[in-house]
Amino acid sequence: MHMADALLAPAVAATMYVASGTAAGISISKLKKDDEASKLPVMAVTSALVFAGQMINYTIPGTGSSGHMCGGMLLSALLGPQAGFLSMIVILAIQCLFFADGGLMALGANCWNMAFYGCFVGYYLIWRPIMKSKWFGSDKNAQRLRIIAASIIGCVLTLQLGAFSVVLETSLSGITELPFGAFCALMQPIHLAIGLVEGLITAAVLVFVYQSRPELLQCVDPADGEGAKASLRSVVAILAAVALVVGGGLSLLASSNPDGLEWALFGNAEEGYAENMGLDEDDFGVQSSAADAAGSIQEKTSFLPDYAFPDSEAAVGTTVSGIVGSAIVAGVAVLICFAGGFFRKKQKNV
């Protein structure tokens, strides 16, 4: 779900930077009040672990495919929302800087989509209420079930929110012609499946931690319920079966009724897909104001503002000159490469 720079308009990228930056600022001031000094090493080691952990392939039983984990819920369950959020930011920054996974300008949006929801929404709306509740009873077994429930619900919900934000940000940037509704129809079900798998993986890891070192988890009372030992494997197996049925059902549904999606994606524009999808394109700002503003500046400043009249004779003339000009630019670029090689050779000889 890492967004690339190219998918964002500058205004959207900046807005997301402000949003994530605010959340980070609040987290930092909260952590400074707590014991920042003792938390930094744990945060660093845990985020390094999650960074590496994201590369593990988990086989999904009954399918040929494998699942991965993103780690927002895991980090907030281990470190709390604020420290978890900052750790996620650092992971995303390293991925963006060293692996080109996400972009420098898209970092704000990526932090919001993948870290904010997972850490803050996942923690305050899902993890804490469920862990403090008396769902399933009060023994150790119930605690385990609560962890599993919170992980799965949390991951599914936060991934849905994240996927929705990706759609929203891309659409607002005016990058894609894909109608908002169709884009959602593409993204949300895929991320439902991904969220379920991620939820199961997170649950498995957290239950393991709970069994060995319950004090490491947030909102979990280690002394709670010294009850009978549950068979974790059977619980995970049941949940996996449920996930498979739900996921399989969904994909069946999608394939038995493909016309909705297909028609939305490939139907022609004249038929007014937007109305049919129940969505009005303009309301969702497919054309972003930023792009408009940029366009108007360009119209004022460029010598040959031709693109407004695509079929006029003059426009054809200028597009030809545009193509020729681009070719010349390409030639210059090649020349720079040759010149670079030439000077280096010279230097080496001297």
Binding site: D5, P41, A52, G53, A204, V205, V329
Partner: protein, 267 residues
Amino acid sequence: MNKMQKALHELSEMDELAARSTPLHALHPAAKLITTIAYILVTLSFNKYDLSGLVPMVLWPVLLFQISDTDVRSCFYKLRIVLPLVMAVGLFNPFFDREIILRVGSVGVSGGVVSMITLMLKGLFCLMASFLLMATTKIDNLCAALRSMHFPSMLTSLLLLTYRYVGVMTEELAVMTEAYHLRAPGQKGIHISAWGSFLGQLLLRSMDRAQELYSSMRLRGYHQHFHFAANRPFNGRDALYAACCILFFLLLRFISISQLLGGLFVR
């Protein structure tokens, strides 16, 4: 090689690239950071149909690749991550936007095709810019620059600490993965029975490691502050470089060089 070993390899490659010494490496990290951000912002601000305006933006990264003597291949290797996503979004454009906005001879090119190509070029240019930044700047110098620009020191310290342990953790997981697959030939990933314990075991060990790390800090008098090495001061040359680059970007943004150049030859 498994995925983690590949990641380790990529990390160490970036380290080595950043440790070279070229005129570009000698510039102040802040100057490089600012110009990179400006470049990306200008690139992104091009209208989705303004292909001929966008094309000349290629000149800056190409020039820098030459000045810094960086192999463009390791940059293109990273395209495998950027392009699929951009393509997935951009590929729909030709289906929806069919208005002909450009004619090459008798062939009409639709707006969707132009906007798709523009999108891909933007993806490529932004990647080249950030790759160049990281290939010519060490991460600790970059963090020092951020700190001097009043970026919260907690985040930069966390970033550097995490970066220090990313290699250690990835290596440990790489070994664990190898050991797992040696005992489970034919399995593509981790079996469901080990979902929790595989990462969980390492997680518990990591917590002990963090504790030891913290002890080692306290034993050396740690309280609140990290003292990282500072960068050399920002000088006139850095300012000149940043100013020239940004001026160049603005020039390209507001004057369509392609059109001008083409206009010289085509009437």
